[in-house]
């Protein structure tokens, strides 16, 4: 039986690796943000390189999984759903990478009073992505647990929105140039968006879960 299941197990391993990369990317994003706020710019750039590498690997894996599923006509009923999940989750990595790239290009000056709220928003968005990874893993292995994780994603997305709003209010209450305020708002919203993407994947995932239930 293990021999016959070889292809199946191989794709399972690829899916797990893909989700590992998403999880790694989320943590890398948080560490990169911390590096940036603490002024460790060289380390920040290393994290960005790592993030780019993750994005490439995730893209390659996604394409490879897609090809396998179609060529071997595996999971015909759920194939489209699985591919949509992978593509949307991949967008979450893209979004995190874009955010870091934008930091690297613009090098916005973040006043130290914002550090705490900035990191809180980052952590809430990263937590949403981590819960999303759990939810997707459960979709494949433990259907009953999916909703539990989806609920947590919604919770952290809401949290990211709340803290993000506080952050933007604080930015606009500060005595700095309007152009600076506008630039910081752009970055704050970018971080909040990461949890929005995670939520969008979960919206689809909850429907796919209903479809998968017998």
């Amino acid at each position: 039986m293990p021999l016959i299941l070889k292809t199946t197990r191989f794709i399972e391993a690829q899916l797990d690796t893909f989700l590992d990369i998403v999880s790694d990317s989320a943590m890398t994003f948080q560490l990169a943000m911390d590096d940036y706020l603490q002024g460790r710019l060289e380390q920040f750039e290393e994290r960005l390189t790592q993030m780019r590498d993750n994005e490439h690997r995730a893209d390659d894996l996604r394409v490879s999984i897609e090809r396998f599923l179609y060529e071997r006509t595996l999971i015909p009923e759920n194939r489209g759903d699985v591919l949509a999940i992978l593509e949307n989750t991949d967008e979450v990595i893209d979004n995190m990478k874009d955010s870091l790239t934008q930091f690297s290009i613009e090098m916005p000056e973040i006043p130290s009073e914002l550090n705490d709220l900035w990191m809180q928003t980052t952590k809430a968005s990263v937590a949403a992505v981590e819960q999303l990874v759990y939810a997707v893993r459960s979709f494949f292995r433990d259907l009953a647990a999916v909703n539990n994780y989806i609920h947590k994603v919604y919770f952290f997305e809401h949290e990211a929105d709340n803290i993000g709003e506080k952050l933007r209010r604080l930015i606009f209450s500060m005595d700095i140039e309007l152009s600076h305020k506008s630039q910081l708002r752009f970055f704050a919203i970018h971080i909040e968006k990461i949890s929005d993407y995670a939520q969008a994947v979960c919206d689809r995932l909850s429907i796919y879960t209903i479809k998968r239930q017998l």
Binding site: T8, L15, T73, E77, V82, F139, L143, L214
Partner: protein
Amino acid sequence: MIFVYLLSGLFLGWSLGANDTGNIFGAAVETRMLKFKSAALIAAIFIALGAILEGSGPSGTLGKLGSVDALGGAFTVALAAAATITVIVRTGIPVSTSQTIVGAIIGWNYFSHRLTDFRSLLTIASSWVSAFLLAGLIAAGLYYIFRDRVNRSKVHLLEQDFYTRLGLIVIGAFGAYSLGANNIANVVGVFVPVTPFKDLNIGGLFVLSGVMQLYILGTLSIIIGIYTYSHKVMRTVGKDLFQLSPLTALIALLSEAIVLFMFSSRGLYNLLHSLHLPTIPLVPVSSSQVIVGAIVGIGLAKGGKNIRYNILGKISIAWVAAPVIAFFFSFVALFIIQNVFEQTVNMEMSYVFDRVTITEIERQGYDTKHFSMVNGRSFENEITLFNELKEQSSFNHEELLDIIRVTEVHTMIVDTEILQKKGMTGRFSAEQWKALDELDGRKYRHKWQLAEDLANFPCWQISVDKTNPIEKNRNHDINANLDTLYRSFYLPKKPK
């Protein structure tokens, strides 16, 4: 001429391939778990294996078809059944092939003025309901069990997909094997005694007998049916009636296998009886009705909203219509074949009331005082005899049939070589063969005379204890073997 006759058998094979394979693989193909080409290939391989390895055994339907005593009649009956199946399959509706054949045979009975066993009609009608309901119940039960298990199991989606696919292939292959084993006899069974093919020596390695060549030809006709025409039935079963998912397709197929097994396994019957558990009656059921019942059962268990009741209605009408259409096709075709093409469609039968038969009727415990009007007379028509006896006596339907069976003239000569040539060696036990060898060369005028002589050997004795299911089973086997002997040793008197 035999080749022309054979064509109708092959036509029947073709229609069987188109209809019955759709029942087995429709759900798997329409849920895209199996490509049509793969399903057709698996079906072709396993139908061929079933037909060639186990196909020499008779099917219940062949027994009935065997009662059609002239090759021209068998040709026409098969043609009528095949035409009916084709007409219905064209609309994509799965139909019971056995019931259609029975409908065509009843057409022959009416045309040939033979009595029809109304019990088989009752069986057909009751199986329309019972097989359908039972399959639905089992499928719904399995659905709840699977739902509970699958929703709680921690098997990866891809592995679940793998096991579902494997299940669909294994159960489908098993279904195809049974289809081949049970139905090849319907397709070419009647041509076995007159096979036009000579034994073929393949490179000095083995000899391909004429009968085997006939079976291979029949199998090919079924396979062509699969490749050319089974797609429509597959679509109805797997998609049109109710949109199945791969797992529900597996449940439907599993329910079909369970119901067909429950109603046909004598082993299960004996096991239940030996454990003092209630037994399941051995009734022939149709795979078409079972698979449709299973799908409807799953649909209802899922809330019943997505079942297309208009398609279900069409299927139900087609089930009732199929035997009726086959009856009319058969009757009209027999008339044309006999009167336009001047072919023999039935043998002339005769029933005599002489000293020998009257003594036997008395021995069986019937009062012969009412037979003064028929005594010494001979009848050519079973229905006329039945009506005359009914008027003159107070015997019931069953008793009258018993009496008619005693008076039927059925000349036979015991010839074990015929059985060997027909490849029936495996059907009889060593003791039964020994008994037949001892009677080799003897002539008989009535079926019961041969049965009486054979009953001197314990292995051919019918048990009087009809309440014991094990004995009932044994009696059933002996009667089936006796029927084979009556057909094989028959010396036709004169064609009509």
